[in-house]
C-alpha cells in the first residue's frame, strides 16, 4: 500500500509540533498542541490501535487542551518573555535533542528480531473470560492491578488539585468555566449535545467489552458533556465539600477493590474472577469506574475551589 498518506500525516504532526514549541503566544502554542493530539489519534488508527486513538482524541487532545486553554485565559494574554537565551545554549540543546533523536531512530530502524510480544498470553485470557476486546481484557483482567493503581493516581491527583485551594475558600466551588462572552451557538450546543453524548458515552462503555471503546473513552465523553454544560453556564461546578461528589469520586476504585478482594473467596486470589462470573463482574466494575472517571476528569479541569462555600 502507498505510504503517501502516512508520510503526509507524519509531516503534519511534526509541523504542528514545531509550531507548538516555537509559537510566540502561549494560546497559539496550546492550539498547536490540540492539533497534534487530534493528528496523533489518526496515527493511532493507522497503527491498528483504535482504543488508544479514542483515548488520545478524548483525553490527550480534548481534555488536556481545554485545561491548558483555561490556564491561558487565567494567565492573561501577554506573553512577554524578557529572558533572551544565548545562541550557544540553543545550539547545545539542539545537539542534545539530535543525539536523543538519533539514538531513538536507531532503535526504530534496527529493532530486535523477533519482536517481543505478549499477544498470545493476552489472547489466552480472552478465551477464558469471554470478552472480545483484547485491550479491555488486558486492562481489567490480565493486568488489572495497573488499572486499579491508575484509578488511585487519578483520585490522588484530584486531592492534589483540591489541596491547592486557599484556606478561606476550602469546600467551595471551583471557578466558573463559562466563556467571557456568552454565545448563542454554545448555549444551543450545550442543550442539544448532552443527551446524544451521554448515549454515546454509555455505548462506548457497554460496547468496550467486545469492540473498541471502554471505561476511559466513555467516561471522558461523559465528562466532556458535563464540561460543555458548565462552559455554557447552564450549570455551575459543584462545591467540592459535597458528600455526593466525593462518594462518586471514590466509587470506582472502591468497587474495583471490593471485586479484587472478593477474588480471594470466589477465585484464585486478588483481582482474579471465576470464569462464569467474569463478564458480569467486569461490566459492573467498568460502569462504576466510568462514572468516577467522568467526575474526576471534570473536576480536574474545573480546578481548585475559587469561591467561598455558601
Amino acid at each position: 500500500m502507498s505510504l503517501l498518506p502516512d508520510f503526509a500525516l507524519m509531516l503534519l504532526i511534526l509541523i504542528a509540533a514545531v509550531w507548538t514549541v516555537s509559537a510566540r503566544d502561549r494560546r497559539d502554542s496550546v492550539i498547536g498542541f490540540i492539533v497534534v493530539g487530534l493528528l496523533l489519534s489518526l496515527a493511532w488508527i493507522r497503527l491498528n490501535s483504535v482504543d488508544v486513538a479514542l483515548t488520545e482524541a478524548a483525553v490527550g487532545g480534548g481534555a488536556t487542551g481545554l485545561l491548558l486553554l483555561r490556564a491561558c485565559a487565567r494567565l492573561g494574554p501577554n506573553e512577554t518573555e524578557g529572558v533572551s537565551l544565548k545562541v550557544s545554549l540553543r545550539i547545545l540543546t539542539g545537539v542534545l535533542c539530535t543525539v536523543v533523536a538519533v539514538a531513538l531512530a536507531t532503535i526504530v530502524l534496527y529493532p530486535i528480531e523477533p519482536a517481543p510480544t505478549l499477544a498470545p498470553t493476552a489472547a489466552a485470557h480472552m478465551g477464558e473470560i469471554g470478552l472480545g476486546n483484547p485491550v479491555t481484557v488486558v486492562l481489567l483482567a490480565y493486568r488489572a492491578i495497573d488499572t486499579l493503581l491508575e484509578k488511585v493516581v487519578l483520585v490522588l491527583a484530584l486531592i492534589g488539585v483540591w489541596a491547592l485551594t486557599p484556606d478561606p475558600l476550602w469546600g467551595g466551588a471551583p471557578g466558573s468555566l463559562r466563556a467571557q462572552h456568552s454565545s448563542g451557538p454554545l448555549t444551543f450546543l450545550a442543550q442539544v449535545l448532552p443527551p446524544v453524548g451521554i448515549v454515546i458515552g454509555v455505548y462506548l462503555i457497554w460496547n468496550g467489552a467486545d469492540r473498541p471503546g471502554g471505561t476511559f473513552q466513555g467516561g471522558t465523553v461523559l465528562a466532556a458533556m458535563w464540561l460543555l454544560v458548565m462552559m455554557a453556564d447552564l450549570r455551575e461546578p459543584p462545591e467540592i465539600r459535597l458528600h455526593t461528589l466525593r462518594r462518586l469520586v471514590v466509587l470506582g476504585p472502591v468497587v474495583f477493590l471490593v471485586a479484587g478482594f472478593a477474588g480471594f473467596w470466589i477465585a484464585n486470589g486478588f483481582l482474579s474472577y471465576p470464569p462464569d462470573l467474569a463478564k458480569p463482574i467486569i461490566v459492573l466494575v467498568e460502569a462504576a469506574l466510568a462514572l468516577s472517571i467522568a467526575v474526576i476528569l471534570g473536576m480536574l479541569v474545573a480546578g481548585p475551589a475559587a469561591r467561598a462555600p455558601r
Partner: protein, 111 residues
C-alpha cells in the same frame, strides 16, 4: 523500503526531540508543561510501534502496550492538571517572575 510502522516510529522520535527542546529551553512554566506533553505523546507512539510489531495470535496489534498507553495518557492528563493548578496558584500568589505578575482579578472571587 520503509514500512508505515517505521515511519510512525521516526515521527515519534521527532516528537520526543521537539518536546525535549521546548522543555529545556522555554522559560515559561506553562510552555514547559506543553512541551513535556509533546515528549510524552512521542513516547506513547513508540509504544504503539512496539504494539504493531508485536502483532500475533490473530490480533492486529499487541494489546499489552496499548493498555499501558491508555493508562499512560490518563495519568499524563492527571499530572498535567496538577502541574497547571500548581502553576496558577504560584502566579496568583505572586511567586513567579516569568509569568505576568498579576492576572486579571477573577469575576467570581469573593470581594
Amino acid at each position: 523500503m520503509i514500512g508505515s510502522t517505521t515511519l510512525y516510529g521516526l515521527c515519534a522520535t521527532g516528537l520526543v526531540a521537539i518536546g525535549l527542546y521546548g522543555l529545556v529551553l522555554h522559560p515559561s512554566p506553562l510552555r514547559k508543561v506543553i512541551a513535556f506533553n509533546l515528549l510524552g505523546s512521542g513516547t506513547f507512539i513508540l509504544f504503539g510501534v512496539a504494539a504493531q510489531r508485536g502483532a500475533a495470535a490473530g490480533l492486529l496489534a499487541d494489546p499489552v502496550p496499548q493498555a499501558m498507553v491508555i493508562t499512560g495518557i490518563v495519568v499524563a492528563f492527571a499530572a498535567t492538571a496538577v502541574a497547571v493548578a500548581l502553576l496558577l496558584r504560584l502566579v496568583e500568589s505572586g511567586g513567579s517572575t516569568l509569568e505576568p505578575s498579576a492576572p486579571d482579578p477573577q469575576d467570581d472571587r469573593p470581594s
